[in-house]
Amino acid sequence: MTDPKIPVTEDELHAYVDNELPAERRGDVEAWLATHPEDAERVQSWRAMAEALHARYDSVANESVPRRLELDRLMQPPRKWVYGAIAASLLAFIAGGGTGWLVHGAAATPSTFQAFTADALDAHRLYVVEVRHPVEVPGSERTHLQQWLTKRCGWDVFAPELGSTGLKLVGGRLLPGPTGPASFLMYESASGERFTVYTAKASTETAQMRYTTQDRNGAKDGALFWADRGVGYVVSGTSDRDRLAQVARLVYDQTEKKGG
């Protein structure tokens, strides 16, 4: 290994020190340094500089973190803000128009939101038509249902009380979700109208609820999606926006109060 064919540039010297140099060029740079003492001295001085920086500042990272920087202390006000944001988006939705509805979140992560909601709508369509076996655990065993789903899913699965909108819990089941288990709850009104609440782990976080509708075989379903603390929620049912929002709001309010 004598002088490499292509001269080593200053940029390459920096990249070499910072481990940014392509592996195949490292040997060339090392050979170059062996024959160019001024460059070798510079490289050495940069390494010494990094050592001095670490010697001076690493102790900060080892100090115990002051109370005011503990996450528990910082969490409280932002949570209220987030609650406000999702709730406000729902209010805007109810108020109608829906202009700007998809602006924030959908632009950020359309695929996650769409794929997640599509899964929930598929489950909704598959099971709402079932007369005899729509659920695995009936709503009469609400406590057991919640405990079972919570245990299997790994987050707090809670079956909200939707009586004020005329809906009664039919029951629930466990489903395969996008990245693991999903919980699926079904509600029914006296007239046979059915709503489902689907939850699964969601990597996306949104500050708004998002609305979508899907037509299939002449039936139009509507769904509202939101995500909170790593769990995504989809309330599916009628494409009547006001009615859907009314149900979603009850679900949201109760799970929000319930959750830590």
């Binding site: 990094a50 900060v60 005011r68 920087l69 996450l71 990597s203």
Partner: protein, 152 residues
């Protein structure tokens, strides 16, 4: 993550209280907008917020006179303390963007790509800032303490 953020903030702001204020504001802002986070690396995102907050802070300070901390002139410091003082003083002579690049790469171990994203500039700009920062700090250290110059 918080310890590393504090280290970066301390080196960037060179004042323990200001540094922790920056970290606190960074965390509050991050928590407040976690649902707007576009995905990607959380670590880079936090460094980005902190870097921008410090830039804003300095902008608002620019019109006021600067005070140098008295402690930095303590003549009784031992060898390593003196060295730490030197590196801190050398950092203080860098312009903001160069100091941030130097610290993100050399202290926090971020890649050029990550730093480019944090500063919103091309990689080439990151590399030229880094080169200028290193040359400047090297000259500053050698000029002030020739006795400590390392020869190998």
């Amino acid at each position: 993550m918080i310890p590393a953020l504090r280290r970066y903030a301390r080196a960037l702001a060179r004042d323990a209280d200001i540094a922790d204020d920056l970290v606190q504001d960074t965390l509050v802002r991050a928590l407040r907008s976690e649902r707007l986070f576009l995905g990607g690396d959380v670590r880079s995102w936090l460094y980005t917020i902190l870097t921008n907050l410090n830039k804003n802070r300095r902008r608002s300070l620019a019109r006021r006179p600067q005070f140098m901390p008295l402690l930095e002139n303590n003549p009784d410091a031992s060898g390593t303390e003196a060295e730490g003082r030197d590196i801190a003083r050398a950092l203080s002579t860098l312009v903001e963007e160069q100091r941030a690049v130097l610290l993100l790469v050399m202290l926090e171990g971020l890649s050029y790509r990550e730093v480019a994203d944090i500063q919103g500039v091309p990689i080439g700009t990151v590399m030229s800032r880094l080169a200028r920062a290193r040359a400047h700090v090297k000259a500053s250290l050698e000029g002030e303490r020739p006795a400590l110059r390392r020869v190998k």
